[in-house]
Amino acid sequence: MLVAEKNSLTEEIEKMVEKHGATRAALMPVLQDIQRNHKYVSEFAQQEVARLLNIHPVEVYSVITFYSFLNSEPRGRNIVRLCQTITCDLIGKEIVAKAIERELGVKFGETTKDNRITLEFANCLGMCDQGPAMLVNDKVYTKLTPEKAVEILNKVK
């Protein structure tokens, strides 16, 4: 990372810490903000968070790896999470997943070459009455068909 990039990231994290407080209890909101802006929390960012909250970097890493929606490795600009839990599974998650994979040319767990989309499975999204469901970043889409899912993803920038 370039020095200028590092400095601006530091500044950004400092602002988040200012907003949420320089305590361990602010860790989740701070990490969520970084994840939202950058789609992952880089090694440098983790150490900055640790420094500002006065905890150990490994504690930050430990927390990130615990939660499905926090990442320590780079992701695409958009993260798509298709629900894989029971009712979505019964109602057609598999064919939706296959259609998406075909269309984007990558498998779940991977990121498109243009870095546009990372595909992931998620556990129950709480949309069981309207499955299959998926999240595109923080937006939820329900009653998916293969066609509809692909159409939604094609609009994602």
């Binding site: 305590t23 361990r24 209890a25 602010a26 860790l27 989740m28 909101p29 990490l31 969520q32 994840q35 909250l53 430990s62 927390v63 615990f66 939660y67 499905s68 929606f69 926090l70 894989q84 839990t85 029971i86 009712t87 599974d89 019964l90 998620a122 556990n123 129950c124 999204l125 709480g126 949309m127 069981c128 009455d129 309207q130 499955g131 999240l135 923080d138 937006k139 939820v140 889409y141 329900t142």
Partner: protein
């Protein structure tokens, strides 16, 4: 996205309510009155554990501390549960007013909503709603003109971890840790968020409180049964014509519910989500309620074409991923149960080993550190027991791949 504000029918939760009514009621009544009505109502926690709400609030109110917290557990993650989503999107007044009542009763100045990360899309609307409450003096200082009653609510997001629905794991997460359940005792009512007395209540519980404070404990009691007072929200999904959230009095039978949601050719009903139990046809006369099947309200319907081993595998995969991984029985136990399911799927098992796994399941139920590992074997044991004919004797077991 779902449609805005569908008019839903229900005797208690979905009965008429206008924002602020129960908060304004606090002008006339004391903390003790609230606790009395709650006790009278017989309300039990709606998340699934069924702990009496009045007791929880009484203990938190009685605990000595300069700070106390009320936390709304909106980490609805149990597969097949989505009632809290409906309450938060369509009935936020019930949830937030209930939190204000809770703050008043236990003596908390701060309420925290732990909203699951999957529901982040609601965040902006909820924040707006809270802001309006502040404008109308339903939050903030001297709420509703009650001298010295200061209380506010903030929302903190989860980040995709089912186990954070367990109240001590939730508190750990709020404090910036991994969502690993704490040792109990101490209970949060004594040592909760940041070590202070804390009441963690489910979204639906708080919504019920809102009505009870206004309409009285005995009004609530008239619904349901003796031991299971009031009504319950059921999240119904799976093989039925009308999935959705239903408010039904406790005591409703499975068959009655199936009829209501227009389920046909039903073979199995999973009550309580992945951590609940799976019933076969012979058991559909059983009733929903603390007397028989206590539940957080997740109902998943399976019709005759569903492969129960496939269903069970989905559940066990869920638990293997969602176990926090700290205690031995849950971390390794669930992987062993999943391996067992895969053995059955491939037809490479012995009955002796499967029986050993059922025994392991029973150990997990009593030996795991928190509710996750204590309940994850439920589906394993109940599906293998209640559908043994299909799984082991009708050619499915062993040739399940077909």
């Amino acid at each position: 996205m779902e449609n805005k504000k569908i008019k839903r029918e229900g005797a208690v939760i979905f009965s008429e309510y206008k924002r602020g009514d129960s908060i304004n009621k606090l002008k006339e009544i004391s903390r003790d009155d609230v606790l009395f009505e709650l006790k009278e109502s017989g309300l039990k926690g709606r998340g699934g554990a069924g702990f009496p709400t009045s007791t929880k609030w009484m203990l938190t109110a009685a605990a000595k501390s300069d700070k106390k917290y009320i936390i709304c557990n909106a980490d609805e993650g149990e597969p097949g549960t989505f009632k809290d989503r409906v309450l938060l999107t369509d009935y936020p007044e019930l949830v937030f007013d209930g939190m204000v009542v809770g703050g008043f009763t236990i003596g908390a100045k701060e309420g925290i909503v732990y909203l699951r990360g999957e529901y982040e899309y609601m965040l902006a609307d909820l924040e707006l709603y809270l802001n309006n409450m502040r404008k109308d003096n339903l939050l903030g200082n001297n709420i509703a003109g009650i001298d010295g009653f200061n209380f506010d609510i903030r929302i903190q997001l989860g980040s995709g971890a089912y186990v954070c629905g367990e109240e001590t794991a939730l508190i750990e997460s709020l404090e910036g840790h991994r969502g690993e359940a704490r040792n109990r005792p101490p209970f949060p009512v004594n040592t909760g968020f940041m070590g202070h007395p804390t009441s963690v209540n489910n979204v639906e519980t708080l919504s019920a409180v809102t009505h009870i404070v206004l309409k009285g404990g005995s009004w609530f009691r008239q619904y349901g049964t003796n031991k299971s007072t009031g009504s319950k929200l059921f999240s119904v999904s799976g093989d039925c014509e009308k999935p959705g959230v239903y408010e039904l009095p406790w005591g409703t039978t499975i068959s009655e519910l199936l009829e209501k949601v227009e389920a046909k050719d039903t073979k199995a009903v999973q009550v309580g989500g992945a951590s609940g139990i799976c019933l076969n046809k012979e058991q559909f006369s059983r009733t929903l309620g603390y007397e028989d099947i206590a539940t957080g309200g997740s109902i998943i319907v399976f019709n005759k074409d569903r492969d129960m081993i496939h269903v069970l595998k989905n559940f066990m995969e869920f638990f293997v991923e969602e176990s926090c991984g700290q205690c031995t029985p849950c971390r390794i136990g669930n992987t062993k149960l999943l391996e067992g399911v895969e053995m059955i799927e491939k037809g490479e098992f012995t009955f002796r080993y499967i029986n050993e796994l059922k025994e392991l399941g029973k150990t997990m139920q009593v030996a795991s550190k928190c509710g996750l590992g204590q309940s994850s074997p439920n589906s394993f044991i109940s599906i293998l027991n209640n559908f043994s004919e299909e799984i082991f004797n009708q050619g499915n077991g062993g040739t399940n791949g077909k």
